[in-house]
């Protein structure tokens, strides 16, 4: 087993990996940029090294600096977490060259899965089910029209190097195809430096369901059940659950078999996720493979009772999987909420800044994986994921009700978060009925009418006064200098709250 592991990441996932290292008796090495000196992963690690300025390219994406720290600290392995360098084949290869074990798949597996068209070509050989379409980039609009005619409209144009919805176009009729293709190609060129675009039959209102796989370096590969990830905004997952309400044991077995075939075809090792598109008749089609640990891995851990990060490390150390496929038992239900620093009043725009108050939920069936703490200043430079709140229950209903209970206990002061969004989702009848598809969340947010002033407005009015009595000074947000300035500059209510408070203090 490794004695020391470097974590090439930050935030909640770095903390989660540091915890796994501590639990396994492995020394953890953190790296940090200028703005992360006070971040939780630096507080919690056994060792920590500064690697540069806030720009990721100068720090968390800088292969040379990270390998230098590995050498300096004597780390024998590197865990990349998710994002940053986690799916970077060059980094995986560079680790091999530096004789540091990369905790994840080989560069070859990553490269194969990196290009959607190359992956598709390989997977077709392995007999994996696909959305009907082309497995290579379109040479011309004519070719596109020919394929579209074969598979039937509507069709989807997708960038081969794509992701996050960039270079994607939905085409309903032959007339639209040519202009849509040109638009998609130029967008793909701009976004990924690669204009290759392919065509697929469009699956309307699909579900996004993914299967977790684990493969050791001795040829053993298993699946750990699916995750329902259809609830997305701007093509980003917001809430995930396991198992999926629509997946029967038979369907799980069939999807799992396919996922294992995909992994074996890619000579895949360590933890990976095979993403499927599922249509309304529960036909599932291979979408892509994520060659890393997923943000949402905890829901799988809760229903299987396994620790995926422990297992990643054991696999990377050359150990065999400690169980066979039929020893894996799924029990209960788990739902994860991604707590983002986002302002619900400003179209969920990121909201970094200082956390002035943090009330964290706990209790039965609640797991919290967090990278924040009270007093921490959330930097403006990285993505807004603050923490993950995961609810487990005997069944889906109990998992949801525990999560609702915990969300009511959760409070982050000083910055805005999307916690209220989860209250909205978890109260929605369609969510309870598991009527989900990738369009679900946009529909929910668009159809939402602003409620009439709710029943506790009078309590809020009283509370506003009680704060002024018990905490007069507080009307000036003291932790936030700019707050005072805003109050001075802006002839608005806050300044008078302040003046009221002042008179109050004199009495």
């Amino acid at each position: 087993m490794f004695k020391k592991i470097l974590i090439a990441n930050r935030g909640e996932i770095a903390v989660r990996i540091i915890r796994a290292c501590r639990e396994m008796g492995i020394t953890s090495v953190a790296v940090f940029s200028d703005v992360d000196r006070a971040s939780l992963h630096v507080r919690k690690a056994d060792e920590a090294y500064h690697i540069g300025s806030p720009a990721a390219s100068e720090s968390y994406l800088n292969i040379t600096k990270i390998l230098d720290v590995a050498k300096l600290s004597g780390a024998e392995a590197i865990h990349p977490g998710y994002g940053f360098l986690s799916e970077n084949a060059t980094f995986s290869a560079a680790c091999d060259a530096a004789r540091v074990k990369f905790i994840g798949p080989t560069a070859a597996s990553m490269e194969m899965m990196g290009s959607k068209t190359r992956a598709r070509q390989q997977m077709e050989v392995a007999g994996i089910p696909f959305v009907p379409g082309t497995s290579r980039g379109l040479q011309s609009a004519a070719e596109g029209e020919e394929v579209a005619a074969r598979v039937g409209y509507p069709v989807m144009l997708k960038a081969a190097a794509g992701g996050g919805g960039k270079g994607m176009r939905l085409v309903h009729s032959p007339g639209e195809l040519k202009s849509a293709l040109e638009a998609a190609q130029s967008e793909a060129q701009r976004s990924f430096g690669d204009g290759e675009v392919y065509i697929e039959k469009a699956i309307l209102n699909p579900r996004h369901i993914e299967m977790q796989v684990l493969a050791d370096e001795h040829g053993n590969t298993v699946y750990l059940g699916e995750r329902e990830c259809s609830i997305q905004r701007r093509h980003q997952k917001v809430l995930e659950e396991a198992p999926s309400a629509i997946v029967s044991p038979e369907m799980r077995g069939a999807m799992g078999e396919v996922a294992v075939r995909v992994a074996k075809a890619a000579k895949y090792t360590n933890a990976g996720t095979v993403e499927f598109l599922v249509d309304q008749n529960k036909n599932f089609y291979f979408l892509e493979m994520n060659t890393r640990l997923q943000v949402e891995h905890p829901v799988t851990e809760l229903i299987t009772g396994l620790d995926l990060v422990h297992l990643q490390i054991r696999i990377a150390a050359g150990e065999r999987l400690p169980f066979t496929q039929d020893e894996i038992k799924i029990r209960g239900h788990a739902v994860e909420c991604r707590i983002y620093a986002e302002d619900p009043d400003n179209n969920y725009f990121p909201s970094p800044g200082k956390i002035t108050l943090l009330l964290a939920p706990s209790g039965p069936g609640i797991r919290r994986d967090s990278g924040m703490y009270e007093g921490w200043n959330v930097p403006i430079d990285y993505d807004p994921l603050l923490a993950k709140l995961i609810g487990y229950g005997t069944d889906r209903e109990q998992a949801i009700s525990r999560l609702q209970r915990a969300l009511n206990e959760y409070f982050v002061g000083g910055i805005k978060t999307n916690i209220s969004l989860f209250r909205l989702i978890l109260n929605d009848p369609d969510f309870h009925a598991a009527k989900l598809d990738t369009g679900y969340l946009d529909r929910l947010l668009n159809n939402r009418r602003t409620d009439p002033v709710p029943k506790n407005a009078e309590i809020a009015a009283i509370a506003a006064g009680v704060f002024a009595v018990l905490d007069p000074g507080s009307a000036v947000p003291s932790q936030n200098g700019s707050g005072q300035q805003a109050i001075r500059d802006d002839g608005s209510a806050r300044s008078t709250w302040k003046s009221v408070a002042r008179r109050e203090a004199l009495q």
């Binding site: 302002d343 400003n346 725009f349 990121p350 909201s351 970094p352 800044g353 002035t356 108050l357 009330l359 403006i380 430079d381 990285y382 993505d383 807004p384 969300l407 009511n408 409070f411 002061g413 000083g414 910055i415 805005k416 209220s420 002033v453 709710p454 506790n456 407005a457 009078e458 309590i459 809020a460 009015a461 009283i462 509370a463 506003a464 006064g465 009680v466 704060f467 002024a468 009595v469 018990l470 905490d471 507080s474 009307a475 947000p477 936030n480 200098g481 700019s482 707050g483 300035q485 805003a486 109050i487 500059d489 802006d490 608005s492 209510a493 806050r494 008078t496 709250w497 009221v500 109050e504």
Partner: protein, 165 residues
């Protein structure tokens, strides 16, 4: 002590006094029996004849929200004088208005020059945070009187970015 409280735009007249541990509370003239303590800064426990409420205060540079249980309320506390001076929305249209940064970030683009005409809702500059760009829009139609923020500068929540006259 008298407070004028505005919750989600609705005004309340609140009379609130405390002697030792006892509270007297009148809301719009109606007497209400309450008990209240501050469990932590920004966290209250209020009992209103038997009902228990945990209230959390969410303060930002721009506004204050109060959470009652899981419901969120925009709250303003003011005294009658300032209220009188601000009653009509029309008056808000008069005089210069400031554009404030809603969150910390970096000014990546300035879309208008000083003395440009601008309609209400039109973007004046772009602030980037966490790899996303946010157009800061003009609160009113008029003329860009002053651009205070510099392109590339880091700003804090509440900083004044520009003034529209």
């Amino acid at each position: 002590m008298i407070y004028e409280v505005q919750i989600e735009g609705k005004n309340y007249r609140l009379q609130l006094d405390r002697s030792e541990e006892r509270w007297t509370c009148r809301l719009d003239g109606r007497e209400i029996r309450i008990d209240a303590i501050m469990a932590r800064p920004d966290v209250l426990s209020i009992l209103v004849d038997g009902k228990a409420y945990e209230i959390k205060r969410e303060r930002s540079a721009l506004d204050t929200h109060l959470w009652v249980g899981s419901e969120r309320y925009l709250a303003e506390l003011r005294d009658p004088r300032s209220l009188r001076s601000r009653r009509s929305g029309a008056e808000d249209e008069k005089g210069p208005r400031k554009l404030l940064a809603p969150m910390p970030g970096r000014v990546v683009r300035i879309l208008l020059k000083e003395r440009d005409q601008v309609e209400a809702g039109r973007g004046v500059l772009v602030v980037e945070a966490m790899k996303m760009q946010n157009e800061i829009k003009s609160p009113k139609s008029g003329v860009v009187q002053k651009i205070i923020a510099a392109e590339g500068a880091n700003v804090n929540a509440g900083d004044v970015l520009a003034i529209v006259e």
